[in-house]
Symmetry: C2
Amino acid sequence: MPELRKDPVTEGWVIVSTERRKRPTDFPSLPEEEDHAGCPFCPGNEDKTPPEIIAFGRDGGKPNTPGWKVRVVPNKFPALGIEGELDRRGLGMYDLMNGIGAHEVIIETPDHNRHLKDSTVEEIQLVLRAYQQRMEDLLKDPRLRYTLIFKNQGGQAGASLHHPHSQLIATPVTPKKVREELIGSQRYWELKERCVFCDIIRQEQDTGDRIVYENEAFVAFCPFASRFPFEVWILPKKHSPDFHTITTGHIPFLADMLRIVLGKLASALGNPQYNYILHTGPARFARRGYWETIEQDYHWHLEIIPRLTKIAGFEWGTSFYINPTPPEEAASYLREREV
Amino acid sequence: MPELRKDPVTEGWVIVSTERRKRPTDFPSLPEEEDHAGCPFCPGNEDKTPPEIIAFGRDGGKPNTPGWKVRVVPNKFPALGIEGELDRRGLGMYDLMNGIGAHEVIIETPDHNRHLKDSTVEEIQLVLRAYQQRMEDLLKDPRLRYTLIFKNQGGQAGASLHHPHSQLIATPVTPKKVREELIGSQRYWELKERCVFCDIIRQEQDTGDRIVYENEAFVAFCPFASRFPFEVWILPKKHSPDFHTITTGHIPFLADMLRIVLGKLASALGNPQYNYILHTGPARFARRGYWETIEQDYHWHLEIIPRLTKIAGFEWGTSFYINPTPPEEAASYLREREV
């Protein structure tokens, strides 16, 4: 008998379908390596991207030259443009504004084939520091309400380039899914006067059957209402609404967590394509207007979604997902994998 | 300069990205034909599906034998099961229930390679009558709150079989996306005492630049905040919350509409993969509890989504879409196509 499970934050329902049960070997795996010829993100090709915003690891060299370890550049084909006034207006009954925002690329490594899972904790820390630094900088721009950081790994996951990179999009509106999470957390706080994510962490630690990995500062588990097979969430154990306030002491633990969890996914599923998305609180100025209580009721986290199944009309039309792998099974496979 | 546009019903924002503009010829097209060997939906193979629920066009023959024109069968690998009690329960802080529901397949034609766009108005009418009849029947089941009808055309759109078919999933909960639309329409009604969809139709008819096709009873247009390139919505011109109350007189106009719009999409985009999803009001009993006003504020419609772009982490994580084809351009291409 399949089960219907409700996400306690967004209240979306998921069908966990045992009839269509899938095991890790049922999913296709992918080649890890690709030739780097012509790659605009490789060292030596710095002039093929717009001029860099920041770079780490280049010891005294000039900007836009090789020697960097992590490099952040504007997206060459940006979805949003950084120049101009934010012009909110109506068009008959409709609302629109001009597409002000930032769209940046975080090039995670000079090595064309060095995926995050194969990087050292030190290397991943640099990537996380780049995320943090760019968010802090963009928070100062009063036009922008939200900074979204995400990674598309593999063509099916939306990546158009193989070279390991993440993206940042800062928007003048709070995206709907984020708003839903904020509203859901707020509702839970009003009912219980506790953070819903803190409660989830405690319950997951109590039962243990969906836990994937824990270290001193972070916990990873397959969520109860996983929408996708092998979906994994990473949360800081200590309550915190905003990723960008992460302390220098906690960054190594998050880097360790990412390396281990991505390694376990790669080992269990054979190098799957995936997306991860950083869910963090909105920019400070927007918060004052809308989310007075966010400091206490929202809890930043990272959602990792292996791209194993196709999203069909049903899922798109309804936000109602069918997941063929119970999260308890997925977590059990992942726990056992040595990285 | 890209534009940010807001959907007036769900309040989701969309980036209409002119930097990444795509024209119809930028999208891949697909082969139309496939060998029918072993297809469980072809005539003669009726024993390869579970026993049929209804069939149209078989003149006096026995059930589960050839001669039918449209045939409805239970899904062989159902996501939800029809037998049992609806057992809503908690599990610590989580909510779940057993997966009660219906999952059916509407086989649209006996011909393995006869797509809906190539069918006659008479043939499409039979498919629509099958949708209507199955919805009316499932409305009687007090356990079920919503009946979703959708079509996945092509493997990337989630179809696992080529033979033209639609699916029906009836669920004991109202899917989140549907609830969002109901809440959005209700909010608009409270503000204006008008149906938001009726207002949209009037505005689209006034400006005309997003209209794709109109007939006596229906209108098709690319919505102002189209999430996807060449997204098309079909709405009845006369206000109506529920698809299943469509009159016998209006079914031929909807069949004509579907044939023309799918034909225009195929002609402009070269037989694209697509999903369509019927957005209709929830079952009557649920409505009394939650949506007293739905008769006046909701308006059923069909959303057609060609699968031309890949959905990346950004879209999944935020419900915030980047659409590289302005809907005015898409509508203009589609209007010009002769079918």
